[in-house]
Symmetry: C2
Subunit: 213 residues, 2 copies
């Protein structure tokens, strides 16, 4: 398998975590989003949205959209599961994941922030937008966590909720959000970081990682 | 069951379609988004994001996030299925749905458009933003459709892809997008509109529908 990824892309980061949890390896193909690699004709043929991640299977099959890729990984490699066996619990795990993957990340991604710059907003205003979107999303996520002593968001094992949470907290920090207010989310993040699948998926450990500016 | 909905909310519209396809009925509880019903303390206790839809089950269980609700409906009421039995086909159906539900709809919803107004953009600029987001999303969706004679996006039966497509085309028209360029998507929409579940879920058929301005 080949994973088209960008070190800082939080959607790619989710898939990197899921691959790690499943014990799967994929060749890492960097797509430098800031330089525009994703707009090449070759890449657009794989992913008409010009976004990362894209997963290319060994037979040439192409999968796009991080949560669809992760659902496919979970259905074809069921151990360990990334969703609870209980439909109601799955609904809660998915709802939490979708708060991040639908209502948070896409409203603060590079594409949207560039569109705001084109509308004349300076870097400070754009960063404030991104920070506000992150605060809204993480506030909802904190409210959606069950009140119990489980180490992960929805139980004793990480689920799709944790897979979405950890990269989004990374984004929030990049945009200057004081994440200390999300104390329960940070507890879940700490539990995740103890797992190699999460630690190895971090942006700074990717082959295309750059030095901090 | 009770469905908290707003007639024009395309995420609510998706759940209305899914309930119809499953032959399920839910009491319709309107939340008037433009008047701010979704910010009431009572509603925020159900849905901390202050968004629609929310599905309240008869035992008081609360489900949020349209795609998580629809996945729950599909897992607990499997007939007719809203995803193909084949994992690869499911991945394609979900990827298509997520282009809309992650990368399109949330970037042009009421909340984002209001944030743009607060940044000083006039109605024309805000509508142009929403139209552009819709064009990008629908362009990707058109490219993701398989080339065959199936009536629906991914086969002989409607899937989660069709459930997301039809409301998004409704949004695109509202923002003045010339949708004629998406001829293959429009063919799928026409097939959907022949089904009562799709026709009955349309905004103008909801109890809180308003006269066109």
């Amino acid at each position: 398998m080949k994973l088209h990824s960008y070190w800082r892309s939080s959607a790619s980061w989710r898939v990197r975590i899921a691959l790690g949890l499943k014990g799967l390896r994929a060749e890492y193909i960097p797509q430098h989003l800031r330089r525009g690699d994703q707009h090449s004709t070759e890449y657009l043929a794989l992913n008409p949205q010009g976004l990362v991640p894209t997963l290319e299977l060994d037979d040439g099959t192409v999968l796009t959209q991080s949560l669809a890729i992760i659902a496919w990984l979970d259905e074809t490699h069921p151990d360990p599961p990334l969703l609870s066996p209980d439909p109601l619990q799955r609904a809660r795990e998915r709802a939490f994941a979708h708060v991040i993957a639908c209502d948070t990340h896409p409203v603060q991604n590079l594409k949207v922030l560039r569109a705001l710059r084109r509308l004349g907003h300076d870097q400070e205003a754009v960063t404030a937008w991104a920070a506000d979107v992150n605060v809204q999303g993480l506030t909802a996520c904190e409210a959606m966590l069950p009140h119990n002593a489980d180490p992960f968001c929805f139980g004793a094992m990480p689920s799709i909720a944790d897979i979405c949470l950890v990269p989004q907290l990374g984004n929030a920090r990049r945009y200057g959000v004081d994440v200390q207010r999300f104390s329960r989310l940070l507890e879940k993040e700490s539990a995740c970081q103890l797992l190699p699948a999460f630690a190895d998926a971090a942006p700074e450990r990717q082959p295309d990682a750059e030095e901090p500016a």
